[in-house]
Each structure stands twice: as C-alpha cells, then as structure tokens.
C-alpha cells in the first residue's frame, strides 16, 4: 500500500461549528500527526472555493487521503466525492467527521466540544488511512418502471412515463383504479368534479399500450438495485416475474378510525359519521339522518385524530378545506339547514382556499373554534324536549364561552394515516418510515420524492397527507427523475459491497444463512462462498458473521473500523508518539 498523505479540512460552517468548536486550534493540532500533510480550516468547505481548496491541495501536495470534518456525511459526502473525482483522486479515499450535527449543535461546552471534535477527526484520520480505491461501475438502466398503487398519484405517474413511450407496470391491490379520489365527489377549492377529471385518466391507463395493469395484485420483495430491479407479483394464484429499472411507491393512505375518541361517540351515536361516509352520501345524493330525515342542523368537526398527540400529532392537511367544501355542498343540498363548523386553526393555505373560506362564511355557516388538544367537543344525545338529535358541547375559543350546538348530523373530519401494510411495502422495496409510518423522503426539501434507496421513489400521500394537486406534482416529479435516468441510459452502482477472500474462506456457509438478499451463493467447485455484487446491498452482516474473516465489507472493513476505534479513543499526543 502506498504511503498515506492525508489532508485534513475543518469546516467552520459559518458560525455553526466555529461557535462551539475551536476549529483553528483543532486544525493546528492535527497538523502534528504523522501522515497528515495539510490541515486547514475554512468557512464553508462545501462552497465552491472550499472544494477548490481541496482540489488545489491534492494536486499541489500529492495528497492521497482526505478527511473533511464538517456536517453529517449524509448531507455532503457526495459533494466531496465529486470534488475528489475532479482532482483525479478516487472518491472512496475520503472520510467525513461529523462535527456539526453530532458535536457543535448538541453540546454547550466549547472545550468539551472541541475535544470531541478532535477525537472524531482522529477516528476519521485513522480510518481513512486504510481506505482503498473502489472502482465505480455503471450499469444500463432498464427503461421499464414499476408503480405500486393505482390512486391519483400512481395513475399520473404511470401516464407521465407511458406517454413518453416507456413501459410501465402498474400494480394495484384492490380491484379498481382511482384510490381515494374515486370516492370523492368534488375537489376543493374550486369545486370541480373529481369523476370528470379521474375517469378519463383511468380509461386512458386501462387502454394505454405502454401500461401493463395488474389489479388485485400484491408485490413480493424487490431485489436488485437502481436500473435493474426484479420482483415477483402475486395475482390470485398466479406468480409473475417482472424486471424493471425504477420503482414508484404511491400506496396512499387510509382514514383514521374515530371510534377511539370517546367524546365523539362514533359508533354509538348513529348520526355521527366520518368524512368518508359523508362523501358517499354526497355522491349518492342522499344526505339524511339514520332515521331517513333531512337533517336541519349539521355540524362538522375538524381535526378528528389530527394535531393531537393522543392520536396523530401531525396535521392531515386536507381536512379543513374538505370541510369547507362540505359546508358548501350541504348548503346546496339543504338550503334551509343550519350548518356549524368547529375548527381549530383554519388551514386555508392553497390557491383559492382563503377565497373559499370567505365564500363559505357568506353562506350562513356558523364557525366555532375549539382546542384540538385538550377540551375536545363532546357530543351527547339531546333529550326529547329538543327538536334535534344531539347536542355538542364546545368551548368556543373565539368567544370564551362554552356553548351547546344542536345537531341532527355530525361529520367528523377524520385524520389521514399510513396504511396498515405500509411496513410490508417498505420492506419489499427498501424504503424507510418515519415515526408516523409514513415513508421518509431522501431530503424533506431538496429531494421530496426520492428515497435513500436509489431508484425507489415515494409519491403522494404515502409520505405524508396531501391534496390532489400536490400528489400530482409529486407523481410527475418522480416521473421526471425516472425519465431523466432512462434518457441518460445508465447509472453508476455503489461498490461498497461485501467480497470474499477465497483463500480464507472455509466454506462453512454461515454467511449464506444470514444474507437477507440471497446475494451469497456457494461455489461447489471451489468450495467457497461467492458474493453477487449486484444483489449485495452492503449491510455487512456477513462480514461480522464470518468466522475466518474471509468476507470484507468494503469501505467498512475490520481494519478500518478497528483503526477508527483506536483513533477515537486516543489523543493527538498518543498518535503523535505512535
């Protein structure tokens, strides 16, 4: 192995790091270390000049290992990989020390934070010593796409890709397309027909020459990597093998069951219905109480199961506007009825929504404001002296008075939550979930549809509640990514896979048992294990299981990690002596 010539760069990140870590001192200290040729600090390492600094140093000082201590590698590792490439150095001869998210931002003592930064960087320096150049490979992209979920997001994405002349496999677990949108009568805020918009799309998908549709179908685990996935789908008793290059997950969501909220008496009071039940009434043109009468008092309660940590802490985003839409539809169907709308904060934030709010106010709708966290409205049966069915006790925050609201029909604007089988799909395609069982996007802002698994995209309300326009935008955003990759034609594959040293392998086959991707097979002839580098995802479990140390997890080898531990627990002084 060549003599390591290490360059160390400590980033200020403006004041983000420099405030808590004495970056100048750290970089000076590190310069004393053996093999460290250059150690610098700079305001923004990730900026153009910052990167240029590294490139220049590599060229001028013949550096062959780089350590950048800055933010989390999850943010900027790639940035620096590219800079390394530009300087003609293999990007894997690089290591990042995370002294922002895991140091300067979480500590309050400058001295301690500085010490910790030093030790983290020492670990990184020690690790990078043993890094080896890994060659990237590029593979051709399979231009076919698998889309899971036939709701509005799935349909849009399918059409987008199919219209570009590319093949799409659309898998839907139910027997019809359209998802939740198919049950909705009108859109908000402009009150346009969903069916008129959706039905032609469904038609088009069914008849599209580039779309192969699988209804009542579930998918099995997908193997492979970006550009070359494969899976088995199960339709009744049939199993079909599919190969495709990219996956779009558009599995949508389900509605919250309000039965658990005692105050609302859902399930006990017959005229307390959920928004999805009411939507059905609207479509059927029959807005009636359980007894078959026209309701004279209709109350709509917002935030049922949303924005309350007992149920879901998040806001379900669409209910407020849907509720305003209902008020308008009720006014249209029941011109004489009294309509009450109990809200917590009116989320009228999109185009035309504030206007809808005002228009609704003008339609003789009484608004009440309650606290969705404590003091939920309480629905009780009215006694016979009243000529209405129920009374809702609401502490109206706008007047500070607790009032009773008469009601014949109560509509609960139920929260939206992740599907019960979200986990199953997550496993099948390899996406992560956040606390609420919604899928996590790669970056909440700059990469809202990609996931940490390349080639797998999450769109629509499976990643958080969304309205139709947002789902459509996201579906198309994912389609853009896929079309771009198809247009490009090939993709680079990560190479941090496991590899077997055949000389050391004793053929015990323990590794084969532990591999979750069946990426390891046994070569009968040589009597050793062999890793299929295309299927391997680089988790390293085989490496830690191998009794002889024959399997190396590239980029996380034993040598590298042991050395990192050593660095992490030593001081500059110790290393200097060594």
């Amino acid at each position: 192995m060549e003599e390591p010539r290490i360059g160390v760069y400590v980033c200020w990140c403006g004041t983000n790091i420099a405030k808590m870590v004495d970056v100048e001192h750290v970089s000076k200290e590190l310069e004393k270390l053996p093999d460290v040729i250059i150690s610098r600090d700079y305001k923004y390492m990730c900026s153009d000049p910052g990167q240029d600094l590294i490139i220049k140093d590599i060229k001028e000082n013949n550096l062959n290992r780089i350590v950048v201590s800055a933010c989390s590698p999850r943010i900027h590792e790639l940035t620096f990989h590219k800079a390394m490439e530009k300087a003609g150095l293999n990007p894997y001869l690089f290591e990042m020390a995370n002294i922002r998210e895991q140091d300067s931002w979480v500590h309050t003592d400058r001295k301690e934070a500085t010490e910790k930064a030093k030790s983290l960087i020492l670990g990184a320096i020690n690790k990078v010593r043993w890094h080896e150049a890994l060659e990237k490979r590029s593979v051709d992209i399979n231009p076919d796409t698998l889309i899971i979920g036939g709701g509005i997001a799935g349909l849009t994405a399918a059409l987008e890709i199919a219209d570009a002349g590319k093949k799409v496999y659309l898998v839907e677990k139910t027997d019809k397309l359209g998802g939740h949108a198919a049950n909705i009568d009108l859109t908000f805020p402009f009150m346009n027909s969903v069916q008129q918009m959706l039905n032609p799309k469904i038609e088009k998908v069914i008849n599209h020459p580039n779309i192969e549709l699988f209804l009542e179908t579930r998918i099995d685990e997908a193997f492979g990597y970006v550009g070359n996935f494969e899976t088995t789908i199960k339709k009744e008793n049939e199993e079909i093998q599919l190969k495709f290059g990219n996956i779009i997950v558009a599995t949508g969501l389900k509605t919250f069951d309000p039965g658990g909220i005692e105050n609302y008496g859902y399930g006990k009071l017959p005229d307390v219905v959920t928004s999805s039940e009411f939507e059905r009434m609207l479509k059927e043109g029959k807005i009636q109480t359980n007894a078959g009468n026209d309701p004279r008092h209709v109350a709509i309660i917002h935030c049922v199961g949303s924005r309350n940590s007992d149920f879901h802490e998040y806001c379900s985003r669409t209910c407020c506007m849907t509720a305003l839409k209902y008020a308008n539809q009720l006014r249209s169907a029941l011109p004489e009825a009294n309509i009450y709308e109990a809200y917590a904060d009116m989320m009228a934030f999109g185009k035309g929504c504030e206007e809808l709010y005002l228009a609704t106010s003008r339609k003789n709708v009484t608004f009440l404001m309650f606290d969705q966290k404590d003091n939920l409205p309480k629905i009780r049966k009215a006694d016979s002296k009243h000529n209405f069915e129920m009374l809702i006790e609401i502490n109206d925050k706008l007047s500070g008075v607790t009032v009773d609201v008469p009601a014949d029909l109560v509509i609960l604007m139920v929260a939206q939550e992740a599907h019960e089988n979200a986990k199953e799909v997550a496993h099948a395609v390899g996406v992560s979930m956040c606390g609420n069982a919604f899928y996590i996007e790669k970056h909440p802002k700059l990469d809202p549809v990609a996931t940490t698994t390349d080639g797998v995209y999450v769109v629509g309300s499976c990643q958080a509640p969304k309205d139709i326009p947002d789902s459509v935008s996201q579906a198309r955003a994912a389609a853009a990514r896929i079309l771009a990759s198809i247009s490009f034609g090939s993709v680079e594959v990560e190479v941090t896979t496991a590899v077997v040293n055949e000389n050391l392998c004793c053929g015990c086959q323990t590794c084969i048992n532990v591999c979750p991707y069946t990426a390891i097979s046994y070569d009968e002839e040589k009597q050793v294990s062999v890793v299929n580098e295309i299927l391997c995802k680089g988790c390293g479990t085989c490496g830690s299981t191998c009794p002889t140390g024959a399997i190396r997890s590239r980029h996380f080898t034993d040598q590298q990690i042991l050395s990192q531990i050593e660095g992490l627990l030593s001081t500059v002084l110790e290393l200097e002596e060594a």
Binding site: F367, S399, V401, V405
Partner: protein, 357 residues
C-alpha cells in the same frame, strides 16, 4: 347550563340593518385598533362573535356596543371587509329593541311602514289639536308648551326609565356584576361628566373636530330643550334666553346640516352606511332646530300670526320627535350610551375588585 347556539338570532338582526354578519374571521384587529377598548371591554369583535353564535344573553348583557363612537377605523383596517363598525350599529338597534318594553322601538326599526303610519298619525293628531284650538296662535303655543312638558314627562317616566332599568337588569343584575356601592355614587358624576362633555369620543382616531361637533350638538340640544321646555322660549321676552335660543337653535341646525351633507357624501367610514333611522334622526334634529329658529324669527318679527302653519309644522316635528324618535328611535342612543358608560363604570369597578384588571 351552556347557552345554545342560535342561528335564528342573526336572522332577526337582519331586520335591524345587519348585512354580512359572518365575514369576520376573528383576527382581533378591530378590537386592537379601537382606542376605546380596554381590559374587560373588548369590542367590536366580541359583540360580533356573540352575534354570530346567536348568544342572546351575552349580547343583551353587554354594554360594549354603546361604548363605540363610530370612528370607522375598525372597518377601514378590517382585513376581511367585515365592517365591524356597522355591525355594532346593527347590534345597537337590536339592543334598543331588547330594552324597550313597549316593542315599538323594534317595530319601527323593522318596518318602515309602521314608522310611516306613526308619523302620519302624529301629524294628524297635531292638526286635529290645531283644529280643536281653532288655529289660534296663543292657545296653540300654550298647548304646545304644555304638551312638550307632558310628553317629556311621560316618555321619561313610562318608557325610558323602565327601559333603562331593563338595561340595568340585563347588563348588571343578570350578568352578576358585583360593584361596590361607592361606585354607584362616583359613577353618577362620571355619567354626568360624559353626558355634557362627550369626552370619550375625544380618544377616537377621527380627531377633535368630530368630537366638537358631537359635543356642540349634544349641548345645543340639551340647551334647546331647556330653553324651550323649561324656560318657555316662545313666550318669554327675556333677551338672554332669546339670544341663547337663537345660538343653540343655530348650532343644532348648522351642525346637523353638516351631518346630513356628510352622510350624503359618504366620504368617511362613519358616513358610508346610513340606515333609515340614521337619516330620520339627523333630518328631524335638523328640522327641529331649523323650525324652532324660523318660528322664533317669526315671533320676533311679529309675523307669526300670519304664518301659523309654520308653527304647526314645528309642532308636528316636535311631536314626531318627542313621541316617536325620542322613545323609540335613534335618540335613545344618547341615553343608552350615557347609561352604558355608567354601567360599564360599575362593571369596571367590579372587575377591579375581583382583581381581574
């Protein structure tokens, strides 16, 4: 027992000049921009809220609507063009009806026809009296004076006083305001001071000229009442009183004329929206001052005998004013506001005692 939300209430208020009642989304801008609001007296928003929810008790038990002098700033800055100032006016009309035990105030606000009939009946009655008195100047003037005193007595004793008590009942007793006894006494001084100076309106953003106008009209009106009713202006020969009469009569009709012009121009927020009752009030006040002025001129130039019809008109105006507008019309705002200030004073003392403010 919680109050029941009552959507019917605004239906009722629609009859009192209410228009859009639900544009308000409760940002609180109006209350905060108003210079007259203070801790415990948050208007106009809370009044609008009570109206939206149909909380009759809260609405009837509140003195807030009377505390506003209508500078219009809340309406100008309202982000939803909900027109809070005008909503307050509608609530006041409604409250006038609530306080009034006879039910006539409500009837006249709701029905233009009833009001018209009332005016015609009074007109006929006055002419009838004239006929009975054979249209003799002396007798008529004597009758007129007596009539004025009787009407004032009757209106106050039979209608306004019970109404004030009703208002007291609704805003203080039913709301369980526990003010110290001393406040009832010190409050009276507060009441009188406010009646004569109208100084609350000085705080308004509309500035001192509007206060001055308002103040002069009130003073002018009270003085006119005093000189005509108690000093019998029309029969006196006391020069000071005659001159005083001229001045206050002049003031009343000049400034009411200015008010009318303002309402016609609709330039300022306060004059943009005029309910029929607003027109009636300013026009009749103007007529009152104007006819009194003319009649006095005629008396002093000894032309009155030949122009008795003018006196009869004056009498008709007075009668319509005294019998219809004072007890049942917008005139009451003068009285209710004054007492609202008194009751608010009590409420404030009660709140202070509780340590709430």
């Amino acid at each position: 027992m919680n109050q029941l939300v009552n959507p019917e209430l605004k239906q009722e208020l629609l009859k009192y000049g209410l228009k859009e009642w639900n544009d308000c989304f409760h940002c609180g801008n109006c209350t905060a921009i108003c210079s007259l609001t203070e801790q415990g007296f948050l208007f106009p928003r809370k009044g609008i809220r009570a109206l939206q929810l149909g909380l009759k008790q809260s609405l009837a038990g509140s003195t807030d609507p009377w505390l506003c002098y209508y500078c219009g700033e809340c309406t100008e800055t309202c982000p939803r063009d909900a027109n809070p100032a005008e909503l307050m006016m509608s609530i006041r009309r409604y409250l006038t009806k609530v306080y009034d035990w006879t039910g006539l105030a409500g009837l006249f606000y709701r029905s233009k026809l009833a009001l018209f009939i009332g005016f015609i009946l009074v007109l006929i009655a006055v002419i009838a009296v004239g006929y009975v008195k054979h249209f003799e100047t002396e007798a008529l003037m004597k009758f007129g004076h007596l009539f004025e005193q009787l009407v004032i007595l009757a209106v106050f004793g039979l209608i306004l006083l019970p109404n004030i008590f009703h208002m007291f009942w609704l805003t203080i007793v039913k709301q369980k305001v526990k003010a110290p006894i001393s406040a009832y006494i010190t409050g009276i001084w507060h009441l009188i001071w406010n009646v004569f100076t109208q100084n609350r309106s000085l705080k308004c953003e509309t500035g001192s000229f509007r206060w001055f106008e308002h103040f002069l009209i009130v003073i002018g009106y009270i003085s006119l009442l005093f000189v005509t009713v108690f000093l019998n202006w029309f029969s006196t020969t006391n020069t000071i009183i005659i001159w005083l009469g001229y001045i206050v009569g002049g003031i009343v009709f000049v400034f009411t004329f200015h008010f009318i012009i303002g309402r016609l121009n609709k330039k300022r927020e306060v004059t943009k929206y005029s309910h029929p009752s607003d027109w009636l009030f300013v026009i009749w006040l103007f007529l009152l001052g104007f006819t009194a002025f003319i009649v006095r001129v005629l008396i002093d130039t000894n032309l009155i005998d030949n122009n008795l019809w003018l006196y009869i008109i004056h009498l008709i105006v007075i009668a319509q004013w005294g019998i219809l507008l004072v007890p049942f019309g917008k005139w009451t705002h003068f009285l209710y506001r004054s007492f609202a200030i008194y009751f608010a004073y009590l409420k404030k003392s009660a709140l202070k005692r509780q340590g709430a403010i």
